[in-house]
């Protein structure tokens, strides 16, 4: 059942992604990207990352894409000629796509057993249960403390300094956006 839902969402994400890059009108491209992000949020929920799924919808589909749509509509785009490049770049795109996707698609054969074998570094097959015990531990933590509690623990303990640096980054981005977009200082 989970697999069927996963493949439906995966097909939806890929189709929306392709529609996003071939759609001539920037507004429809943005809306297709929102569709792809919703499909990805569903996949995150299937992969036991419910909090990330919710954040994906709230922050990505909700805030960032609204910012994009806001700028597109502010600049009144969408009436220009076709902006998709002609054949040399199109050919380069296809070649790059083939070059990237061919080696990466080998990842589809990855299984927890193979991951455990590579992480442990032993020549024999590793047991996912013992080598990758952190995954199961995280699962238990989520059951005990709730999904948000399990993420809040490491976020505010192990990763406290990066978290604080992130706030500085956001402050710099906010000031930078104001300075850049202002007509005259």
């Amino acid at each position: 059942m989970t697999e069927i839902v996963f493949y439906i969402l995966a097909v939806a994400a890929v189709v929306s992604g392709i529609a996003c890059i071939v759609q001539r009108n920037p507004v429809s491209a943005a809306l297709w990207l929102v569709a792809a992000m919703f499909a990805l949020a569903g996949i995150y929920v299937l992969l036991n990352a419910q909090f990330i799924g919710a954040i994906q919808v709230l922050v990505y589909a909700g805030a960032i894409m609204v910012l994009f749509l806001f700028v597109i509509m502010l600049l009144n785009l969408g009436r220009e000629a076709n902006d998709i490049r002609r054949w040399p770049a199109l050919l380069a795109g296809v070649a790059i796509a083939a070059g990237i996707v061919a080696p990466l698609l080998a990842l589809r054969l990855y299984s927890p057993t193979r991951l455990a074998t590579e992480v442990s570094g032993s020549p024999v097959f590793g047991d996912p249960g013992t080598v990758l015990s952190q995954g199961a531990a995280a699962q238990r933590l989520a059951e005990n403390q709730g999904v948000v509690g399990a993420i809040a623990g490491p976020l505010f303990q192990t990763y406290l300094v990066p978290f604080e640096v992130t706030s500085i980054l956001l402050l710099v981005a906010a000031i930078g956006a104001v300075v850049l977009a202002k007509r005259r200082l």
Binding site: T2, A10, V14, G17, I21, P26, A30, L33, A36, L40, I43, Y44, L46, L47, N48, A49, I55, Q56, V59, Y60, A63, I64, L67, F68, I72, L75, L77, E80, D83, R85, A89, L90, A92, G93, V94, I96, A97, V101, L104, L105, R108, L109, Y110, P112, L115, Q134, G135, A138, I151, P154, Y159, P162, L170, A173, A174, G176, A177, L180, A181, R183
Partner: protein, 98 residues
């Protein structure tokens, strides 16, 4: 659970993003393709966090923050360029070309 298919889907989405960056000339659509690539990487983090603990999900959190900051600054730059050139077509933004 679904580790291989998730990584494959992430690869496909990343490639779609790269192709979009190569074939489009509209700067805003280009930014959206970059967001698509960031999303593909996030999917990798989430898929592997099932086996490596919750650090992967926290990385996704940081990637989203950086993406938000990048979108804000990038769109401000596009807005400033649009005021000069009345266009967001990358072919028109050639001031630095020799």
């Amino acid at each position: 659970m679904l580790l291989g298919p998730s990584l494959a889907l992430s690869a496909i989405l990343f490639t779609i993003g790269v192709v979009g960056v190569v074939i489009r000339r509209n700067a805003i659509v280009l930014f959206m393709c970059i967001e698509l690539m960031l999303n593909a990487v996030n999917l990798t983090f989430v898929a592997l966090s099932q086996y490596h603990g919750l650090s992967g999900q926290i990385m996704v959190f940081f990637v989203m923050t950086v993406a938000a900051a990048e979108a804000a600054v990038g769109l401000a730059i596009i807005l400033a360029v649009f005021r000069h050139r009345q266009s967001v077509d990358l072919e028109d933004i050639n001031l630095l070309r020799g």
